[in-house]
């Protein structure tokens, strides 16, 4: 066994492993009769886990090779085409619950290796040139200096062409669209520094700025690479979460046979077999069977809905208790999910309009610097009439003000902030998200699954007969229904219970068991009390006599009320926008202390509310998890989603938090605000540096040595300032809690059957 063992008890519960067909569907062919399946195994932590996982999988018949990637918490399994090995089941027994990972979603990261290669070339050139420059500065004779300049030029050229490309391309893209960004002054500075130095080298000049040009590229690329690494890490972690939308479904053919078809190929009027625990792949109508449907993720309703033949089902909801045969009424692209995607695309206006802080700074910065350089040129021309001297000084102005510090001011702070949040289980998917979060002045929460866990809990436990409760718990332990689980968890009080036998589960109704001659029933009141009606409520009965009635409430997320008051303390207005019934919303709102709440909202109405708030000038942070929240997450100024959220919601959100506690929200706001403050400080430092350097440069006192010292110093100061970020630093301000385990979090929404 491995140190992943805490998951061992969960492994038994993980009966809901994807079917063989689903595994096959998400595998890819490697040729030569080999197939590759990628699995995400979030619980792997150490070398022992690697051994256990690789060894366990390799021992399976048909498996050729299993290779763990511990950094991404993934395992790639190569197996011989034919029978699908029981990969996920095997991992579950090893205590490392796994889930399928889309191979297409992970095509490596070409951008990262491009950045790292550019960084390596720039580093190589910068260090060698610096080495030569030191001897030039310490007073090499003219002949040696000249030789060194030529070698430097030869080294700087590839760095400029290969590593500088990254800035040139981005600058060109901005210019072509009539905008300017930070890369424009950077590119101009680098190119002019190189051009002037080359000219001087050819003409036996004394000064060359090859070192300045290459170190500039090197420093800026470090910032850029770190920024990319951090963001990619967060995105990979989000991609590795359990996929909630189904890949395919079992379709019943006319002749009684079964096909497992991908969701895309399901057409209206097909009959689909939906086992308990499976998600509805497309909008459909129930044809046979009775069950309960969990709509929490689709509409925000916390109470499961009973369905019987004729009931309509929305794509994305989960079948809880009994098998159903349903008839598809729409294609995947016309289903509920697709409608949400369309709403999202329509809503994504506000965020696209947002301009990054650095770009706004560049917009002010480049005209000032370029005008200063041009005026310097004119001034020196007028004063001396020596155009070479005038151009030299003007370019020195550009080089020394070249925004090395300014280019690092934002990314470095954001890297530090994103890293802090990552350690607290909050994934930052986009740097601009941090800037937007710092501006937020209002937070809108969804209820089901966001303020609450979407996991029912037994209410009013004190008023119940302990014996009846113990009996109900013993009976409930035999079912995976969410209410049964809540009962089983709450009722295990150690009291003696009669020996139960012949336990059976009646889908949509409840559980039945015998103890001696008595028949116990736990479930819907109408059925358990033999009244034949459709009365709701959960009761325990003996031979049709009521023993106890149970009521359930949704569990609030840990520290929900604290999080809300912490946000309020930071000056944010709080509201609830929920799709659930108004009374349930009001009850939850009362508990966490939110006055402004609205229930029964449709997805489009949530978006409309957010747009109305944006119209008032509010910058709203939307926190939501359901399919119905996805358009709102896209429409809000900035958005956050828990890891248990629907796939499209996770993709739409700027932040995803992995832990259960809602304290992630105020922590993220605190870090974002402090990051914003540090960025502004960094800008102030950069401006201060320029205010000192500019007059020196205009006066013509800048030599390559002065430039190198000044620029390096300003960069170091900016980076050091970024490291002062206090929020989120260990010891963490929020309570230490269990690491997020998808299998555990999943049991509330996806009941393995």
């Amino acid at each position: 066994m491995s140190c992943c063992a805490p998951g061992a008890e969960l492994a038994a519960e993980l009966g809901g492993a994807p079917s063989r067909e689903e595994v096959l569907l998400s595998s890819r062919e490697l040729g030569g009769g080999l197939m590759q399946t990628d699995l995400a195994v979030p619980n792997m932590h150490c070398g022992a886990c690697i051994r256990a996982v690789e060894g366990g999988l390799a021992r399976l018949p048909g498996v050729e090779q299993a290779r763990v990637n511990l950094s991404t918490r993934r395992v790639a399994v190569k197996w011989r085409a034919g029978t699908v090995p029981p990969l996920i089941e095997t991992l579950a027994t090893l205590g490392c619950p796994a889930h399928l990972f889309d191979t297409e979603a992970d095509k490596g990261d070409p951008e990262l290796s491009r950045l790292i290669r550019a960084l390596a070339v720039a580093g190589f050139a910068a260090m060698n040139i610096m080495l030569l420059s030191v001897s030039v500065w310490s007073g090499a004779d003219a002949e040696t200096r000249q030789a060194f300049h030529w070698i430097s030029a030869a080294l700087a050229l590839p760095a400029l062409l290969y590593s500088g490309r990254i800035f040139f391309r981005s600058a060109w893209r901005a210019l072509r669209h009539g905008r300017t960004n930070m890369d424009v002054p950077i590119s101009i500075g680098i190119c002019l520094a190189f051009g002037l130095s080359l000219y001087d080298t050819v003409h036996n000049g004394e000064h060359a700025y090859f070192d300045a040009a290459t170190t500039l590229i090197f420093f800026l690329l470090i910032g850029r690479t770190l920024d990319h690494v951090m963001r990619e890490k967060a995105r990979a972690a989000v991609r590795g979460l359990v996929r909630l939308s189904p890949r395919g479904a079992t379709v019943l053919r006319g002749d009684g046979g079964r096909d497992y078809l991908p969701v895309k190929e399901i057409a209206p009027d097909m009959r689909i077999l939906l086992a308990a625990g499976e998600r509805v792949p497309v909008d459909a109508v129930v044809a046979e069977g009775r069950s309960e449907i969990d709509c929490a993720i689709a509409t925000g309703e916390s109470v499961p809905r009973h369905v019987a033949p004729g009931s309509a089902l929305q794509a994305g909801t989960t079948n809880l208790s009994g098998p159903l045969v349903v008839i598809a009424t729409a294609r995947a692209e016309e289903s509920f999910l697709a409608e949400m995607v369309r709403l999202m695309e329509a809503a994504e206006g506000g965020r696209a309009r947002y301009r990054r802080l650095a770009d706004r700074a560049a917009q002010l910065y480049s005209p000032v610097v370029h005008a200063a350089a041009f005026l310097t040129f004119l001034g020196w021309m007028a004063a001396t009439g020596d155009w070479h001297r005038a151009i030299g000084v003007a370019i020195a102005v550009l080089i020394i003000t070249c925004p090395c510090a300014l280019g690092l001011a934002v990314p470095i702070v954001q890297v530090v902030a994103a890293r802090r949040l990552f350690e607290s289980g909050i994934m930052v998917k986009d740097g601009s998200g941090l800037e937007r979060l710092a501006e937020a002045d209002m937070a809108a929460f969804d209820k089901t699954g966001t303020l609450t866990l979407g996991r029912p809990r037994l209410a009013g436990q004190e008023g119940l007969d302990p014996d009846a409760l113990a009996l109900a718990a013993a009976l409930a332990a035999h079912s995976r229904h969410p209410l049964s689980r809540a009962l089983a968890a709450a009722g295990a009080n150690g009291r003696a219970v009669p020996h139960l036998s012949d336990i059976s589960e009646h889908p949509g109704l409840g559980l039945e068991a015998k103890a001696g001659r008595d028949v116990y029933r736990l479930g819907r009141a109408g059925w358990a009390l033999d009244m034949g009606g459709e009365e709701g409520g959960t009761v325990l009965s003996r031979n049709g006599q009521l023993l106890a009635a149970f009521t359930f409430e949704d569990t609030l997320r840990p520290e929900a009320a604290e999080a809300v008051s912490a946000l309020r303390g930071r000056g944010l207005r709080i509201a609830i926008l929920s799709g659930d019934q108004a009374e349930t919303v009001a009850a939850a709102a009362g508990k966490v202390g939110i006055e402004d709440h609205a229930g029964g909202l449709l997805p489009a109405q949530k978006v409309a509310r957010l747009e109305a708030l944006a119209g008032e000038g509010r910058k709203v942070l939307m926190v939501g998890d359901g399919l119905n929240d996805a358009p709102a997450l896209a429409a809000a100024h900035v958005s956050m989603a828990p890891a248990t959220a629907a796939d499209i919601g996770r993709n739409a959100a700027d932040f995803v938090f992995l832990h259960e506690s809602l304290s992630a929200v105020p922590l993220a706001v605190a870090v974002a605000r402090e990051a914003g403050r540090l960025v502004r400080q960094n800008f102030a430092l950069a401006i201060l540096y320029n205010a000192i350097a500019l007059p020196v440069a205009i006066a013509g006192y800048v030599t390559p040595l002065v430039a190198a010292i000044a620029m390096s110093l300003s960069s170091v100061i900016v980076v050091a300032n970024a490291l002062r970020l206090r929020q989120g630093r260990a010891p963490k301000p929020h309570r230490q809690e269990k690491p997020y385990r998808p299998a555990e979090a999943r049991q509330t929404v996806e009941l393995p059957g």
């Binding site: 150490c46 070398g47 690697i50 051994r51 060894g55 390799a58 018949p61 050729e64 763990v68 990637n69 511990l70 950094s71 991404t72 290796s113 790292i116 290669r117 390596a120 070339v121 190589f124 260090m127 060698n128 080495l131 030569l132 002949e143 040696t144 030789a147 070698i151 080294l155």
Partner: protein
Amino acid sequence: MSSLVFLIPLALLLGGVALGAFFWSLKSGQYDDLDGAAERILFDDEEERQDDRSRFNKND
């Protein structure tokens, strides 16, 4: 001065070789799983080989 004529090209050549080695290691995926590599170094070689052999025999 005369020593510089071959020392500097030599230094650059060595640096270039290191750069090439880095590119090669990057391309061959040696930086894909840094956390995993840190753990794998502690694995017992002997056991690993036996594992490989048994796997090989099984596949035969």
